[in-house]
Amino acid sequence: MIDQLESRFRAIQPDVDFVSLRYVDERHENLAVRQNIVQPTSTSRDVGAMLTVIDGDGLGYAATSDLSESGLREAVKRATAWARRTQGRGVADFGSMPLDARQGEYQSQVGRTWDSLSLKDKIDLLREHAGRIKKDDRIVDWVAALTGVSSESLLLTSNGGRLHQRFRFVVPHMVAIANEGTETQRRTLGGYGMGRQGGLEILDEIGFTAAPERLADEALELLSAPDCPEGTMDLILAPDQMILQIHESIGHPIELDRILGDERNYAGTSFVTLDMFGSYQYGSELLNVTFDPTRTDELASYGFDDDGMPAEREYVIKEGVLLRPLGGRTSQVRAGVPGVANSRASSWNRPPIDRMANLNLEPGDSSIASMVQSVERGVLMETNCSWSIDDSRNKFQFGCEHGRVIEDGELKHVVKKCNYRGISATFWRNLKGVGTAETVEVMGTPHCGKGEPNQMIRVGHASPTCLFGDVEVFAGD
């Protein structure tokens, strides 16, 4: 198909200033066992291409699932029409920003391939794991699931660019639901955040095998646990909550398209303004955050973004100071600031926009034990279960599945209904401890939503356990 596309693309070149073709072929295999019953398996293959045309200062796109020469010709005609309709009406002179004529390849690093286990063997694996979750009558629902994804993309440009990338992902999931009366508690394997780039070796890396009994035990324990204490106190967040905290209150607010206003009608704006880059104290001096699509094991690792810019690791926050936004080439030109290679589309049928890709909090020098010992009164929270933040990405309230009270430097009893709230602009300045590299977990989500038309995309986050001071902590009703 790749060879055919290249020859067809050469054959349909219209009389315009620039044209590109972005092809995506993505396959999913979803396997799940719920209550020891194999759920309907579903496989999917999504294939298509987006033709993007620049003519004068106008830009238009057309996406099609018809990859024949006539189908591509029709699509490029529609893209050309949109480029010409929008001449003189755009937010920028798109004629000044054709893609570079870059050539390159990227391929995921895979240990054990998805197909190294047969379908039956994968189902048997899930059945065995699911069977271990149901260890008590109060476990009323339980699921073990695996999704395997393979994705291939090709970006061709009329000025000779050719970028070919092949990705492999595995997204495991497990949940135990415990109930007694009208009290229901759940424990999941890292929320929905355990996906990584790679193969089935991921299951060993994330502790999939040991998870069933632990999740069941913890869900049962939560049923009779007291509510989370209330008050202003220290808060230790495990990596499976830190990824959400990073995602919502660092990642989104520093996306350049939000700062430029593109997202104001949907995902929202940002409290961050362009003049803050280079000087704004986003957090304490312990806060170091990198944009890193070059790390091989995260969900949004790649060689090139969908505008063809090469992936490079960049500090976006160093020693607490905000350095650069998450903005791809189009946003960088519009804003006149340097950014990163993060112009990405969810698939062939959506145009690229600024996304956070892999956004990681760099490890520090505190062990978990030392952070706990430093807390007089606080809570250690694990596993995100609720997230809400204002449209400027400032006032947030997050909830966790599981908590443990800390008193006088010691971990005490388990608590349920764990919530905390704060303001991004001040929360990170109260970062008092950052865990060592041994506490880092590589996680991410396949479900980051944004954009008009809407796009859901994979993003990666790696984070250590962290300690924050003066946080407003509370329970539910």
């Binding site: 024949s68 929008t86 009608n265 204002d390 309230q397």
Partner: protein, 440 residues
């Protein structure tokens, strides 16, 4: 496209072996998208896509797969044949599915709404003209949406509609904006202009200095848009039978009689007056109406075929996710006219944003005010408010603290475009609520 889908279905039939059966669904759209920022075009283009979801069945074993169709007969027949072959191989490795249930009595239906959409160039011109000097940001999405069902028992269902959905905001500054929506099937310039004029009037109020509301409990009026965000949370696992029987629904206390909403609260899945197809992926037809909450009490759940088999009840045509697609909340007795005076002193909440559960079993949600939300004092709009976080139980908002629902209701066509343009809709009143908790 309907003819094309029927040909594909016939082709699948021709590929069956032995006692095989199948169900399949089709989704297609041809959409124009124009994205605006500051009244100018950020991105504009077109998307043409069609996909087929096929469940290949033999006895109680089955395997499901989805592919994209190109629209070219020869190519698609080859893709379908490849899918059938793959699913047959997968099925051999899978155990029997005790909860497999699909329609076997054919019930054909057809709904085809012809296109009365404006030319996209005309729409673009009208929108930019209406924007004038204002900072307009948003998305115009328009075009055909098609859905089909077919099975090996000869059932054929088809749904085809052509709609537009212009979802936009006028911004004053920073986060101060008026959100508007104009959706339908036939563009009416005068109606669109009225929407624009109404938004501009609200924009004037946003230019006043904002009022900082301290934490506390306030009397609020939730517009239908704002109430839709709260009630929409119940669509997230609230109304399905599986969520009820596995004790995960936020309405568990309502269903078990430990809590109740106000008598005026009635919620239904109203397929007859919605914009979604009246058939689902296993071939079952949806009744015109399923009452979910009646006079404050839980009456029924949405039941997918799979849940029907698992829990031994009849399906009512719900999709696998068991969420409402055409939510209908009954009107109340308060006239919308004079609502500001009736509110007296409190908050007029135009929109809510980014809701989530803060205590699922207490049916408690948290979220933010957004867009045109005003401080009202002595029956008059005094000032816009800076965004506030709320944290409230729906058992209070629609129960003990509900002062009334409006007589008038708005029909809201979902602007969602994840993967494809949505046909979901909601019809709701506004709500006057006492002691609504703001926390940050």
């Amino acid at each position: 496209m309907q003819t094309y889908f029927n040909e594909v279905a016939d082709h699948i039939t021709s590929l069956l072996q032995g006692n095989e059966a199948f169900t399949c669904t089709f989704d297609g759209e041809e959409s124009d998208f124009i994205r605006f920022n500051q009244g100018k075009v950020r991105q504009a283009g077109a998307v043409s896509q069609r996909s087929l979801q096929l469940d290949l069945i033999e006895g109680m074993r089955h395997a499901a797969g989805a592919i994209v169709l190109s629209g070219e007969r020869e190519e698609d027949h080859a893709r379908v044949a490849g899918l059938v072959k793959d699913l047959r191989a997968q099925r051999a490795e899978l155990p029997e599915d005790p909860y497999l249930l699909y329609a076997t009595e054919p019930h054909d239906t057809e709904r085809v709404d012809p296109s009365r959409l404006p030319d996209p160039v005309a729409a673009l011109g009208e929108i930019q003209s209406a924007a004038g000097p204002h900072d307009l940001v948003g998305l115009y999405a328009a075009g055909g949406i098609h859905a089909g069902f077919a099975n090996s028992f000869g059932q054929r269902n088809w749904f085809s509609t052509h709609s537009y959905n212009f979802d936009w905001s006028f911004y004053h500054a920073t986060d101060k904006a008026v959100k508007s929506g104009y959706a339908g099937f036939e563009w009416d310039p005068s109606r669109f202009q009225r929407k624009v004029d109404e938004a501009v009037r609200k924009l004037d109020v946003l230019q006043r200095d904002p009022h900082e509301v301290p934490r506390g409990h306030y009397r609020v009026y939730l517009t239908p848009d704002a109430l839709n965000e709260m009630v929409g949370m119940l669509s997230w696992g609230g109304f399905g039978l599986k969520a009820l029987r596995t004790k995960q629904t936020p309405l568990l206390k309502l269903a078990e009689g430990e809590a109740a909403f106000d008598d005026s609260v009635s919620i239904a899945e109203n397929t007859a007056e919605g914009a979604s197809p009246n058939f689902q992926e296993s071939g079952f037809l949806r009744p015109d109406r399923v009452s979910l909450i009646d006079n404050g009490h839980h009456t029924a759940s949405l039941v997918s075929p799979r849940s029907a088999k698992e829990f031994g009840v009849e399906t009512n045509g719900a999709s696998a996710g068991e969420s409402p697609e055409s939510l209908d909340m009954a009107a109340g007795g308060l006239p919308e006219e004079g609502m500001i005076e009736r509110l007296g002193t409190g908050l007029y909440v135009g929109n809510l944003h980014y809701l989530n559960w803060s205590d699922l079993m207490a049916c408690k949600t948290t979220g933010m005010t957004r867009f045109a939300t005003f401080w009202v004092e002595d029956g008059e709009i005094a000032a816009p408010v800076n965004v506030m976080r709320f944290d409230e139980s729906l058992y209070r908002v629609l129960g003990s603290n509900l002062a009334g629902l409006t007589q008038e209701r708005d029909w809201l066509l979902s602007p969602d475009t994840y993967f494809h343009r949505s046909t979901h809709s909601a019809r709701l009143p506004g709500a006057l609520v006492e002691d609504f908790a703001f926390t940050l």
